[in-house]
Symmetry: D2
Subunit: 354 residues, 4 copies
């Protein structure tokens, strides 16, 4: 059943396989009359695209987006925005090694089992290439949300992590290094770790923290469409994500109520914000922050034993140019999914009062 649409009012539908002709999507429900800066969209795509630095995959894609509708004379018209990114690098590859065999911890086998057929080239639909479309929609959402700030950054790589509160960080430094970590000394260590992992033909996981500021109170639709529940789903839908926590998160599960409760200031803000800007599923106007766990990339440059479609044992070695760590390129994806979710809920909240 159709599962390629996210959002209820601001709706993104995507299509496209890694090595098909193109990937693209439709944004339906974007408010009308919003000026769109196309360069800002391309800027976000460039933050995600392969080949941008020495710690990411060297596959070459210009990832230039083309718009077909919904924007007229520089402004959104309220009609659906169709867009596309051509796959330039799609014909150059030899896929015979994965046509009949299943890569470990990839989706090859489950796609085959589910659909009975699959586009095996480069992972097909299960490739993270699809997330470029999310970045297009996210970049538009960010522009619509002007005033609301969405910042994500690499908060850990392997066992290296930023040992500071997010309030101590300067978000303007996120893109100052290839890892997208705003703490420069940690960034340096992370970068070295990634280079070293790559050298050994291996990969490594990490986490991204996202902070959303200036969100008005009142976003979120209990009891099922709580704001953090929809943020969580949006994050968990990103390739390689294994976990989501907001506010105090898993640490909060170790605390006592007397430690965890956020006491109010007289202006209605709270003193501690362990709630993470959301109470009972509804934004309270304070910073929303959450953390997302990414597993290590499954394609490694080492021999691995696996099976073919008949269950025979085969040896497989990763080919092509893959990311040693997905986290730096995933930063704009996390921001995009956050922006899409916040905008969707901002629009939903407009229907509560007449």
């Amino acid at each position: 059943m159709a599962g390629n649409t996210i959002g209820t009012i601001f709706k993104l539908t995507t299509y496209g396989e890694s090595h098909g002709v193109a990937i693209g999507g439709v944004i339906d429900g974007c408010p009308s009359g919003v000026e769109i800066n196309l360069e800002a969209i391309q800027y976000e795509l460039d933050r995600r695209k392969p080949g941008q630095s020495k710690i990411v995959t060297q596959r070459k894609e210009s990832d230039t987006v083309q718009f077909y509708s919904g924007i007229f004379e520089g402004k959104t018209t309220g009609t659906p925005i169709g867009f596309q990114i051509v796959n330039e690098n799609q014909k150059s590859k030899d896929y015979s090694h994965i046509k009949d065999s299943y890569r470990p911890s990839h989706a090859d086998k489950v796609y085959q089992d589910k659909y009975g057929v699959r586009d095996y080239r480069g992972g097909g639909r299960s490739s993270a290439r699809e997330t470029a479309c999310r970045v297009v929609a996210g970049a538009i959402a960010k522009q619509v949300l002007s005033g609301i700030k969405v910042n994500a950054f690499t908060s850990s790589v392997g066992d290296l992590f930023i040992n500071k509160m997010y309030q101590e960080l300067d978000f303007s430094q996120i893109d100052s290094n290839d890892v997208r970590c705003p703490d420069s000394s940690t960034a340096q260590a992370m970068q070295e770790k990634i280079m070293q992992v790559r050298k050994s033909g291996d990969t490594i996981g990490g986490t991204i923290t996202c902070v959303i500021q200036n969100v008005p109170a009142g976003l979120g639709e209990p009891v099922f469409d709580k704001l953090h529940a929809d943020l969580g789903k949006a994050m968990l839908s990103i390739n390689a994500v294994k976990g989501f926590e907001y506010g105090s998160g898993f640490c909060g599960a170790k605390m006592k109520g007397s430690e965890h409760n956020d006491l109010y200031n007289q202006d209605g803000t709270t003193q501690t914000n362990l709630s993470g800007g959301i109470q009972g599923g509804i934004s309270n106007g304070m910073d929303i922050y959450f953390r997302v766990a990414f597993k290590p990339v499954a394609t490694i440059m080492q021999d691995q034993e696996t099976i073919d479609h008949e269950g025979n044992k085969v040896i497989m070695k990763g080919k092509g140019r893959h990311d040693p760590c997905v986290v730096p390129r995933a930063v704009p994806i996390v921001e995009s999914m956050a922006a899409i979710t916040i905008l969707d809920h901002l629009l939903r909240s407009k229907t509560i009062k007449l």
Copy 2:
């Protein structure tokens, strides 16, 4: 905007406030011809209900569910199942202390801000009392899913946790103690911890682990409605939940690809299942397991400073009978949301092939 429905094919809509006349719901899309065991539904409700043991709230509710439609001569008819649980205890309370003041880390203030009006009695719609309706739907989903086993248990309370793999546990022991922890020595320690926390007028958080067995391969609808993304949303929609991780989870973010990849056996199963039974958002037939973090209950029996609706400082002390730890009663809720999500995806998967 309406946010009180979950599911796409097996759909649950709930209504009701903590201290209104009743809570209830409608299950739409339940397959027809399924024999329903009403006692089994009541059994699950009893696992969630207040007053069941000395470590939970002593509020008295019989939580008897009544069905109005959709079941005829003991079988589902395919038409919507309407049901209700009367609030027996709803008139006995004095709410004046929360009518004009906002309890810390509760949803009182955000409801007031969002809707401009709220039923302040006992938390109204934001009360976890609503989850009884989820248990009704979950108990029906479990019966429809016969063969697929959904087991959840308390895996940690504060900093006490089960130091074993789930495979080493005997799920038949989950309900053998009040904490719902199948490891008896840990259960004993947890119970003592909860009693001690209660004595000090405090509360404590914890985690629940859920294991789903015998799930067929092929459930999950990428790229947005991935199986774990919908499981995550379902869990995050439960009151007090702060985090969700599946398979290797946040630990996976510290690992290397060479450690994390699940190598295949010749029968198509994997040797390690760090994937948690889901690859690329689609079930692979192995055990699905995940962990959910619950914050400590916000109502504590201690004086707390807070504000009233005009921003004046006031002192508030928890009244009534509250849970010192929500986790034992949340076990059937986690199972219910898991069963609902799995059934919804099982039905969705039937539309993939003609």
Copy 3:
């Protein structure tokens, strides 16, 4: 698959069988802070209920609605509104004649074929009794829509019809007679026709015209959720409806463009409104009007040959007390579905601009 919910923002879900314990529903997405007049809701239910006059079925139901949630101190809270109507008359009947046989032009056989099981008592879920729940939601929608006027009336019975434009009619006269036809001489003829048809053990069809006034311009979401498309679906979902036309309707299909085009006045209104208040699927601020066709009630008090579930021929005669013409009681149902649809689109239109 679940089909018992209508609306996207103002959402109604209904449940209940004709002769089950009760029928009811949940309204989710109703704006908060709206004062609700319960008498006005009961008034609309009384317009639909059986036994209200000598030209309708004499089944006795008080059709008293009870609310369980979502209304607090007389106002909507923005949380779901659960409600129920008890089936008082449900135990008194003998259904053996329809348990194993299929009534002609009823849904008995298709329900059996589709679901493999059915609640055969009084038509079960396929009974028009379910529409009482629509009237509850419609009566609430009308109150939320205050200022927007929704009036429906009987415009034809058999071949008797009002030979006037709707502008010539006095809507305050709709309820002045049992037929709900505001043209008194036609009403008189219709009433005699219905009495005569009943006497012969037969039934008769008719049409209802609905006029919605003071609708703001801008409602409707092309290209699929056009305002008239959603009105059409809402009407076609009512039991016994066979057709829907708006504005010029089927007559418009016979006209030339030079006759049919609505020329503008300088204030933006049009001179002729053959468009029926909707252009390109979007309301233009003028009166919306449409017509709905109802087939004759299928249960007649005459012997009819039919088949049982094994395909054997049997003779069946209508039992119980049925409507000779469904149209007078369907007037509040048409108004309700119109009000629900207009309110849903009014709320949707609020998301177009930031």
Copy 4:
């Protein structure tokens, strides 16, 4: 709010303006493993495209569809199918006459009122050009539905109509003439009528009848998503449609129950099928048939008085090449929307039983 998607399982989302770069769409939820004949898709597009005969608009568009995803080695993969049709003729036109003025009975003014901005070129999003995307999806749905036959034809133009039951017609003759009327003598008269209307710079309305054969029993999801309700909505969403009736339709509203009831044969079929193949909203296995009313095209080649955006009176004359009668080109559109709706319900019906 987003309104550019139709369907619940087989979902079509479209984008594109009449004179933008391209129109296109995404089909999500198409079952996997279905062989797709691209020529058959193009054939249906050619039946809809402009310039195909002397009785339609002479605008030149090749309407060649390109697919980007979801089809691999000739078969559907179960992933979303992205497609596009380039607007070749989009730059050649002068739109100054409609930039600031509103064409009578067009959507110019309502789009401006609703969105505050519009792509005025050629009607923008409100142009029937968008329906080409529906034909692409419909042509795919037809292939998936193999065995179920969907045939539509022109049943009236102005006051000329086929005076036969559909059973007397030979559907293989539908495309034997430019009007798409399978009754040759009526077709001839219709064609002359259209030519004569065009000569006078005028346009004319008409109706299309659609017959769907070999539909299995059990499609349709009461109480709101009845099969005919969704068919009705799908038809009413087509440009210029003013009415929908199925089975006995508006004629049925004049009949008595004793005349209208469909008596059963022993094999479960009925003798008369005034029900139109649907009872209680569920298909019964007999032919489904319905009729759709189209208004005359609003653009006429005559002077018309209208207003500009400031309310000043202006004289406007249709420019460009428009259809004198939309009905012949709408035949494949009606078939497409029917096929899409039937396929969606066929897939929905698979979720009723486990």
